[in-house]
Symmetry: C2
Amino acid sequence: MDALTPEHSDKNSALGQRYGAAIPPTGPWNETIASLLQHRSVRGYKPDPVPAGTLETLIASAQSAATSSNMQWWSAIAVTDSAKKKALAEIAGGQKHIEECPLFIAWVADMTRNQRISDQEKVDFECMPWLETFMVACIDVALAAQNAVVAAESLGLSTVYIGAMRNDPVRVANLLGLPKQSFVVFGLCVGYATEKAAGEVKPRLPQGIVLHHERYDAGQKAALHQAYDAEMTKFSQRHELQAATWTQRVLNRLGPIKSMNGREKMRTALASLGFEIR
Amino acid sequence: MDALTPEHSDKNSALGQRYGAAIPPTGPWNETIASLLQHRSVRGYKPDPVPAGTLETLIASAQSAATSSNMQWWSAIAVTDSAKKKALAEIAGGQKHIEECPLFIAWVADMTRNQRISDQEKVDFECMPWLETFMVACIDVALAAQNAVVAAESLGLSTVYIGAMRNDPVRVANLLGLPKQSFVVFGLCVGYATEKAAGEVKPRLPQGIVLHHERYDAGQKAALHQAYDAEMTKFSQRHELQAATWTQRVLNRLGPIKSMNGREKMRTALASLGFEIR
């Protein structure tokens, strides 16, 4: 049968939005996958609150993600208070969507909870001060939060991660009353997108650059890179973004130290919050 | 209406498996969320291959996850070669499911690709050597991989993350031909679970311990902690796990340095792979 079924048409349209002309040879497809492909980070929210119980549904989804050795290295702090959201928005360099969104979730790498077991049971935790353990906590946070994002978007809600909580981890920790050995890895705005902010799916690098078989393929792939630069130029023109190509965005983002917004001091800030990261 | 609809019955059953008696007051529910709640890490696979195009569907899902400033800090290496899977299983301390699964995906924090732009355009990337940038790369990897897990499970496939790739990051990098400034954050087995390995949903901490409102609640919550220890004891008895309570598992996992399987040397290993992590 040559005619496209509605399902195939949706699939090709979703892949076209994500990859432009470089559509990968995907196989199985369903509604969950269609929802994943439709992801957009949204930076404008209506004031409407999320339905009762939504937060608990998101947290149940987050807790269902894998967690290394079931250590469950994270906590979530739901923030709905206007003054607190305003203070967080300010730390994040004035991102007004943090104020606008009805629900802001701070995702905490929480080593306090397990450390407390060490104290109570009087067993020295030799595994705590290492880079490995710190990384595992951050990864646990990310796996959990991503499940919450998937759940939120499946319910018609929009989200955006707020990495700028790391502009000043100490101030964020004070504002949210965090104990030592915990810090906010990132925030997440949750709510209903305004029409203007709903936006468009952002193209990603062709799979030929990202996916390798059996071994890393270190070939330069200049043609694929150029094709992606062209896709991002078209996307930038439609959205009036400053930088035209992906290459230019990478140069702007990673070149000058000022684009880190002070996050080069993270190690010192985390040390003062009780993280050794040996 | 008092009678439970099938949907509500499924929801309560899913929450009961995840939380035991401590069922949280969740709200909205749908098939995607039901699939998230059903997650289990599976350590036994049938030899059946995954359907054609599945890998590309999983990678399209992964690439649709949020990525910090669209830097796309990751690559994926699909491994299906038996000898290579065997070598990886050995590095992971003999985890035979790595050999068994038809598809193993190595998730790479890939700072090489962006670094190459620095070299080509002759612009110094001042933002590269910091803990912040390393963390962002690891978080990008985790968000992407979790989307792939969600997609795989929605298709009836099972998965398990393999953190033990970090037991020897240098050997893994050599085996997969990684360039400098890239390393395997974790692996992922993908395939069809054997009946024996399909297993049971693992209970998690009550939401009252994990979820906070407006501020971190540093109260001890001993009753909730004990209730979870009791749930995990029942779960352990059903599955003949060694440690009975969660508390005991935490003591075993974080107490003695030997339970890190050498990963306390990660920082040195990563330095030799070109990661400064200042």
